[in-house]
Amino acid sequence: MTSSLLTAKNLTFGYDDVPILKNIFLKIEAGEFIGLIGPNGSGKSTLLKLLAGILDAPAHSIYFKQNDIRQVPRKRLAQSIAWTPQEQNLAFSFKNSEVVLMGRHPHLSLFTMESEKDFAIAQKAMETTHTLPFADRYFNEISGGEKQRVLIASAVAQEPEMMALDEPTSALDIKYQMQILEILKHLNEDKNTTIILAMHDLHLASKFCKRLVLLDNGKIVRDGPPDKVLEPGILEEVYNIDIKLYRDPNGGVLVSPLLSDLSSTAEFE
């Protein structure tokens, strides 16, 4: 039996005694495409940071391939797990190609400069993410959608087994959202990269993710295939609004919030 890539066992975590996550059990297998959904403040970002080792989980609560994640050297972990932030501006004017090349860091030892091989990997990562055209421009001068793709390119250059992405689509228009998700789908299908991403758009989440994990107030309330997780009862409870669901003929579930003053009477079918 092979072990899971990442396992959270009864994970509880908080800042300054304020609990953010409570009793989380989560198994991530290699090759999965997981969407982390839930209201603002439900703990999605914190969970991603814990899974990527950016925040220290309590002992014995997260395992990376059978090893307590706390015992895995940071560099070793970075060779397997990449994380990308939601939005970012840099304090200094790094070029996009330099940002992407930073993804090679965990593969380089002290005193070494990037080799031809590293440049080639970064180049390939930029091809995959369609970021080559602005490789020589400055990160702070490109649009939000382009920035997000550069950050993903940097994560791709890291050659990880898993990518954890914090709301990569939230600030983007529909075209860029599709573009990002299609890049991730391609990485998942062609390179078998495990993907876990936090997102708000439930419709797109159901279209792209094979599994959804619904968080509410620091707890996992549903975990399964999109059509099992996106059910009106639970969504109404979690988001505290009235909701109607439609099957999208092109795949996925359309989540339609109802206007509160009409919700009791409206039946437009």
């Binding site: 940071r74 990308t84 304090a91 200094f92 790094f94 860091h105």
Partner: protein, 334 residues
């Protein structure tokens, strides 16, 4: 960044530094003849040109070079670690701590030497250490990173605190001491010999080596702490080593030269505008540029109103400011 680009850029900065080193000894209040200075026919004792060149100018030029390079490198590291281009080597209180030590030793009239190092420098260095210890004792590692906002706040507080102590001691001191204190606080390179130069080379060189070793990690931290962590950087360890090493390097320099302002802020800026923010290239270039910059400023300070001298800190600000504005404007237009 390719290897060729890297070496070419270093070469250009090295050429600039070497040219400065070649010209600076010839600049001064008195014209000297190199032929006479190197002449073997005149005994050294009677060779005025050689005296001026080797005993007055050269050690001072070397001190200026080392001080300029150290402050520039420390400034670049502080800016990267605090992700703030207004940061400078003196931001975290190192110079005020040193000033407190120096002023204390002046007011107390401590004049001894220890291993050839004057009491003033020893106390200034320990003052710098005190400030660093104080500031760092207030900052904790939280969620795998150093709380840099607290660090900045603690540094600013330490600056005010030690400045108040300096003012208090200054207020109580007599006229002679008061003049000495003012003069020290302006910073200067005038009192130096080869012994001083030799005693600051080892700690400064060691600091450079350590900072160069962690330069790539510092790059990632300067781009963002969380991404640095997810790229495998041990952020808190690198932040600590970076802050402490550059503080100690700064403290060593300030102990001997007093607080020479502006170099540590502006030299890294200027070099970053030219070579970009990658510290693997920025640090060695800042080191060479900072050295050349301070040597040139000192040459101006020595000659502008000769035979009197202007404190070099005045020149760094007067020359550096407009130059920096010009560079910023040029960058914007391109």
């Amino acid at each position: 960044m390719t290897q060729k680009h890297y070496i070419t850029t270093l070469g250009i900065f090295l050429t600039f530094l070497l040219a400065t080193l070649a010209i600076a000894p010839l600049i001064g209040a008195t014209n000297i003849s190199l032929i006479k200075a190197f002449s073997s026919e005149i005994p050294f004792k009677e060779n005025v040109d050689a005296h001026i060149l080797f005993l007055a100018r050269l050690p001072r030029i070397l001190l200026a070079g080392i001080a300029g390079s150290a402050l520039a490198v420390a400034g670049a590291v502080f800016q990267a670690l605090l992700r703030n281009d207004l940061a400078a080597p003196f931001t975290l209180g190192v110079s005020s701590g040193a000033a407190f030590g120096a002023v204390l030793s002046i007011a107390m009239g401590w004049n001894f030497r220890f291993l050839g190092v004057p009491a003033l420098s020893i106390f200034a260095f320990f003052g710098a250490l005190l400030a660093v210890a104080l500031v760092f004792s207030l900052v904790k590692v939280r969620h795998n990173e150093f709380e840099t906002s607290t660090l900045l706040l603690a540094g600013v507080t330490a600056n005010f605190f030690f400045a108040a102590l300096v003012m208090f001691i200054h207020y109580l001191s007599d006229f002679t001491q008061s003049f000495q204190i003012i003069r020290w606080l302006m910073g200067g390179l005038d009192i130096t010999d080869y012994g001083t130069v030799l005693s600051i080379i080892p700690p400064v060189a060691l600091g450079f080596v350590i900072l160069m070793v962690i330069a790539r990690d510092l790059n990632l931290i300067s781009a963002g702490v969380s991404t640095a962590l997810s790229r495998g950087v041990n952020v808190s360890r690198i932040q600590k080593s970076g802050f402490i090493v550059s503080s100690l390097v700064t403290g060593t320099i300030v102990a001997f030269t007093g607080p020479i302002g502006f170099v540590g802020l502006i030299a890294p800026h200027i070099v970053r505008l030219i070579v970009g923010p990658d510290l693997r290239l920025l640090l060695p270039c800042a080191m060479m540029f900072g050295a050349a910059f301070l040597i040139l400023c000192d040459a101006v300070a020595r000659t502008l109103i000769a035979p009197a001298e202007i404190p070099v800190g005045v020149i760094t600000a007067i020359l550096g400011g407009p130059f920096f504005v010009w560079l910023l404007k040029r960058k914007k237009n391109s």
